[in-house]
Subunit: 156 residues, 12 copies
Amino acid sequence: MAKSANKNKALPIYVLNGPTLNLLGTREPEIYGTTTLADIEKMVVARAKTLGLSVVFRQSNHEGELVDWIQEARTKGCGVILNGAAYTHTSVAIHDALKALGKPIIEVHLSNPHARERFRHRSYVSLVATGVIVGLKAQGYLAAVDAMADLVKGQS
Amino acid sequence: MAKSANKNKALPIYVLNGPTLNLLGTREPEIYGTTTLADIEKMVVARAKTLGLSVVFRQSNHEGELVDWIQEARTKGCGVILNGAAYTHTSVAIHDALKALGKPIIEVHLSNPHARERFRHRSYVSLVATGVIVGLKAQGYLAAVDAMADLVKGQS
Amino acid sequence: MAKSANKNKALPIYVLNGPTLNLLGTREPEIYGTTTLADIEKMVVARAKTLGLSVVFRQSNHEGELVDWIQEARTKGCGVILNGAAYTHTSVAIHDALKALGKPIIEVHLSNPHARERFRHRSYVSLVATGVIVGLKAQGYLAAVDAMADLVKGQS
Amino acid sequence: MAKSANKNKALPIYVLNGPTLNLLGTREPEIYGTTTLADIEKMVVARAKTLGLSVVFRQSNHEGELVDWIQEARTKGCGVILNGAAYTHTSVAIHDALKALGKPIIEVHLSNPHARERFRHRSYVSLVATGVIVGLKAQGYLAAVDAMADLVKGQS
Amino acid sequence: MAKSANKNKALPIYVLNGPTLNLLGTREPEIYGTTTLADIEKMVVARAKTLGLSVVFRQSNHEGELVDWIQEARTKGCGVILNGAAYTHTSVAIHDALKALGKPIIEVHLSNPHARERFRHRSYVSLVATGVIVGLKAQGYLAAVDAMADLVKGQS
Amino acid sequence: MAKSANKNKALPIYVLNGPTLNLLGTREPEIYGTTTLADIEKMVVARAKTLGLSVVFRQSNHEGELVDWIQEARTKGCGVILNGAAYTHTSVAIHDALKALGKPIIEVHLSNPHARERFRHRSYVSLVATGVIVGLKAQGYLAAVDAMADLVKGQS
Amino acid sequence: MAKSANKNKALPIYVLNGPTLNLLGTREPEIYGTTTLADIEKMVVARAKTLGLSVVFRQSNHEGELVDWIQEARTKGCGVILNGAAYTHTSVAIHDALKALGKPIIEVHLSNPHARERFRHRSYVSLVATGVIVGLKAQGYLAAVDAMADLVKGQS
Amino acid sequence: MAKSANKNKALPIYVLNGPTLNLLGTREPEIYGTTTLADIEKMVVARAKTLGLSVVFRQSNHEGELVDWIQEARTKGCGVILNGAAYTHTSVAIHDALKALGKPIIEVHLSNPHARERFRHRSYVSLVATGVIVGLKAQGYLAAVDAMADLVKGQS
Amino acid sequence: MAKSANKNKALPIYVLNGPTLNLLGTREPEIYGTTTLADIEKMVVARAKTLGLSVVFRQSNHEGELVDWIQEARTKGCGVILNGAAYTHTSVAIHDALKALGKPIIEVHLSNPHARERFRHRSYVSLVATGVIVGLKAQGYLAAVDAMADLVKGQS
Amino acid sequence: MAKSANKNKALPIYVLNGPTLNLLGTREPEIYGTTTLADIEKMVVARAKTLGLSVVFRQSNHEGELVDWIQEARTKGCGVILNGAAYTHTSVAIHDALKALGKPIIEVHLSNPHARERFRHRSYVSLVATGVIVGLKAQGYLAAVDAMADLVKGQS
Amino acid sequence: MAKSANKNKALPIYVLNGPTLNLLGTREPEIYGTTTLADIEKMVVARAKTLGLSVVFRQSNHEGELVDWIQEARTKGCGVILNGAAYTHTSVAIHDALKALGKPIIEVHLSNPHARERFRHRSYVSLVATGVIVGLKAQGYLAAVDAMADLVKGQS
Amino acid sequence: MAKSANKNKALPIYVLNGPTLNLLGTREPEIYGTTTLADIEKMVVARAKTLGLSVVFRQSNHEGELVDWIQEARTKGCGVILNGAAYTHTSVAIHDALKALGKPIIEVHLSNPHARERFRHRSYVSLVATGVIVGLKAQGYLAAVDAMADLVKGQS
């Protein structure tokens, strides 16, 4: 099984970001801070590199595009770190795509949804995620990369 | 009215498939079996042919694209067979598009959603469908084609 | 296993009909049409014959009698097609009898319960049915016979 | 239409009583009083007679039997007075049979269900009844006969 | 106790009518018919007279006025027949006033609230009424007078 | 029908205001601003005049009085603009009076109730209103007058 | 009162079994085990005998028949041990019959309904039972006989 | 600010009582005791006097009148002690009037609503009250006066 | 701040329309009328012009595209008038995009959603809209333009 | 009975305080003020003394310890004043202990739980308390002592 | 496996009792009878002895202590008979401790919780118990000992 | 502020573990793995050391003890990492203690509660936690230490 493990390690982590995360750093900074998504991408790529992993980092406002990318990660990625943003709370389509992934999934949110409106308390992602990290701002992405590295190693 | 009936018959059935159905045959085969969506397309086209009908067969992970196609079927199709997959349970947009269709609608699911998670028990499609066929796997598509042929005949 | 398969094929399909279906063709024709239950029985028997299958076709207003018949089908039938009518929405007893059947189950409804009152949206039958076909009127019974033939074949 | 009116008047009122009403006068007399069901039958027949009407008066503990009798009343009765007792709160089958009746329906209860347990607050009979009379004990049956006479007259 | 009974009999029945019943005969006649409230008053007074009873008949759009009148009936009436109309579904104040009445209460509605919107299914009046009569149109008031006569007699 | 249309135009718009709106300009100015109800009356009368309409402008803390006025508008007004304030969320009586109006109804709120407490999300007025305008402060009354002018014209 | 106590002791325990329990030992043995209902009857009769009691042991798939038998037990039995099976969760009729029994009632279930589907968590029988014993398989019937013997003794 | 404090102290406490409290001492004495509202007024006035405060003490069955009085207290009172009785549980209008008061509010109930029917558990008054005192019978009014004196002092 | 106000005024209003609104005038005309979306665009542009404002008018069936456009309006528009159609009831993504807008938002619906199915009663748009205008058909868009002009002016 | 009354008076009031009240004066002072629990104890002891009563004053973070102390108060106290803090909303154990107390119970909260999070609206203590005093800060304890003195006197 | 069975038999049954059961015989005797917990201990020990089993019998008002004891029973007991009293309805901690036990569990209640308040209908213990015995008073403990003896034997 | 920051850094992280976590490694290893709590303590202490932080690591089955320790951390710790286990879902007391902490809080769970029973979906801890990390097994504790180090640094 060493071979498929090697192959797995060679594949990048897919770090996928949902709607309105492209505005990060400008939108409601009192909740989300001033770090931009580009800043986070840099931090994530750097941390992954120290762990011998590469990263595919993307953002979309389209539910269907997120589904497409999760499907792409089935054959081209070693796992998915997903900040589904608003779709977290409404998308059964993303839930189903994740369920078909067959790879580790880490759900990330910059803020703590449990401390916000009631409709943010339900997560279709959490139901199928391996792990969930919320409220740690940009730092949460790095913790997710660390966890993913650990989970990918665990597979080999 | 014979004329518009003839015209109606000449129009193809739109068979539309929702998110993650493109993975059919590989995703959770213990629930959905190993038949691929391409296999189903062949079966559906063949069955429709024996009933003197043609088929437009499509799949998308995008809710909006499914809405576009349902709207297209208003003038270019004789009816819609829809396996909305995950969007079945969350999409009022698809519900509204179907409501505006003015043609027969058959809802199909490969598995039986009533025997799965609670959030799969609500169907916005069922509220406006002429008929619903679930749990019969690929065979359900063929039953839907038979029923659609019958309904289209009924219109002429 | 060829032997028990042969034996299974030789057994009739049980087509069981719940309360007030005996009034079919007279009761609320705007919802259920003018076809009588006797008409449906003839159509069903004919279709089954073309598929090499026989049919036991019955109707009762009594929940307990429907339970008795489902139990009878355990040893004397190859599967059950059930239009439970009103008991669909209230009978755990029928649910339990079906669960103990160990044969394919197709649930049928002439109209689409999802488009009617809220208390018709819950089905104790759907929870254990192999497949569900609703809204196709008498045609739905024939689709159920086709599906059952397929499922029985699948068992052998 | 005078003819069918005459025919209608000639038909008896069906007064149907649900489970455990046969114990009336002995069961929980602090709620239901000491009058027996036979006493009520006598009062009802007498009152109907003064209004030129005859009565079919029956009791059953079986839901299916009540459904059978309501169906019988479609052709042999001029209307139904129903004390569905416990089935009032659980029977969609009786609801459906009443819906198919096409004659006036008066729902009667000896006590006031709204002043008792919560599960007695829902009535599937009230949803389709012409009128509802509760809490007036045996007197409620007589009020129902009066109302039925009025409604039958209204039909002619 | 004969004396207080005599006194009780001498007191009129309070027949109290809630908001918008003053429009009876003009408002939504397909639900409420064309009989006016004045017509009903005449019928009620006439029927009560044949039973040796007098009537105080009033209507108000004001919840507080209905409460005032129910309180008045405590000392000046023998019982209350109440068609609370809209306040039936929202007024705990009327509920409390009725609870303090210490006399028989008959709730009346012209139509059957159970066959209308969901928010008309809850009745704060039914929780404390001796009897409830709905769906019998103007006739329901007469049945209520009969029942009240019976209950008042029962008190003596 | 030109005559009744003429008559209709001649009738004033009833602009009715519910409880505590008399305190406008002093109560919770951070939500409702400093404009008083007298200010709004002046603006409304002026705008209606430019559209050839007159206005009856009133305020009451009494649910019953609002019901009385809505009934008055049936014969003396051409339509009702209603800011029901707190009664919006609790009054079936006002709902019923509006339902019997037979004229256009515009519901207005100064603030946006959907952005406030949960018990302000249900509106018995919205269920029967022709149109609803919320969140536009005093400006919303003017928009309502415009819309009413349009609707009244549409009737002629 | 010694006489009626003697008389009570002389009367048998009614052990009544609901729908599908006749299939015991064959139906879903992983939940219910392989013991048949006839096996349980023998065990129950034997245990009762050691306690000086006789037993009437019956099974029915018909709700109405169970109601009939509970009514029979009012005069011919000393108490009822009831495994209502599916009717436990839906039958107000059985609830009412038990309420009118005036004798001890022990509810028994072979499995633990609380560890199964949500709709098995509500028991109309538990609301009126003296005691409830679940999850102890056939052994539960014996515990129920012991408890009934104790309760019957307590009555004398 | 000493001046406005002096002015505030000079203003009376408004003690307002809701529907049916005028029957106190006669209505359901097992819940509310035999003390009349006049008795309570005397006690309240006396206690306030010892604290250097005067009292306006009123009762109404009309929701609108209570709203009027609360508005009056904005300029003429130093605070409101409110026993809203039935309106406590249904009146958003009173809630809004209290919210606009800008003075201390003490809610009082003679009995403990939490130990009564479920619909008495919700209080629109509690949501805006400074303090709530229930279950202490007439004594609760005196505790409210003490608390109000304290709060008014706190304002100066 | 006059400068940024000037700049603001120079920016167009974004008028965004959700799924199936492209079918306006053909789809369910009994609810939505025969005016097409192109007709509305003309009316809107004309009205805005009279107020010194320009308009960007778009329609999409894609939730993600609507999110993109709302984001575009952050820098290129002076405010958003949104008829979200079906997405109104399901889209947290649009809710979040609007929350990040930092400009006035007017929600518009042609019909009154409160008078339709229950799932149309919840609006994620209303939770963040400045104002909401429903039920006024095409006229509602013009009222929204008026209101927006007023709000934009208010900003300068 | 004078003797047991004397004995009762001799017993101290138990004033019991739940979790995190030991932090009073430091924790969230904007809600709870700066008075410490020791300050309150002094005030309470002083007030009780003026009424001829002694006090046992305790605090615990442990639910079980509060149960132990309530049980102790059955024989060693004349009544319990309980600020259950967080356990108010979750503890059936404290509810049961209070139910077994057989002495007066006054529930106290410094703030008004009805004006805070939804999970603080349910109180298991209120269901069994004689009286409830909330929102009056430290002053509420004194009101509770007054009330308890009154209730204890009432017992003698 | 005979050896570990022997070892298992040698271990005592843990009979654990929750809050306020120490007051048994004095607290609400109309519900729980006059038998004390010490009486029950004696009966339980005696019965176990006749079955060759010893008993550890304890009571605590502390949830955490009950958790400790259940953990102790993992290695030192052969099974747990638990009357969790109030914690039954609220303790996930006890639920988790029982889930980790790996030994038979019998839940016992003296009274029938289903016939009491709604918040006593949910049992976190029932979800993991092997068997549940309620309503049989002290006798229920003996039935539990019998059942436990049977289950322990079944393990060997 | 450098001084208090220095002081803060010198204080240890409190890592607190709730009920049944002491059984880790033996209890349900298919969910929680075979690592023991002692193993985790070692890993946590080591990781903290590399970050220049010390650790207080404790476990308790007692809700009150966890509350005590959280209070202790107010003055003696720099932050709390809490795996509340079962109390997570039921303890308002722990919620209140955390709310009074005034230091960073990281909630940790070994498994993903969202993928388990419904009653594990509610977390009173998440409502007040700075961050939440679930599903990453022992690794989650290390991620929490990293995050805490970051947060503590952020404070200085």
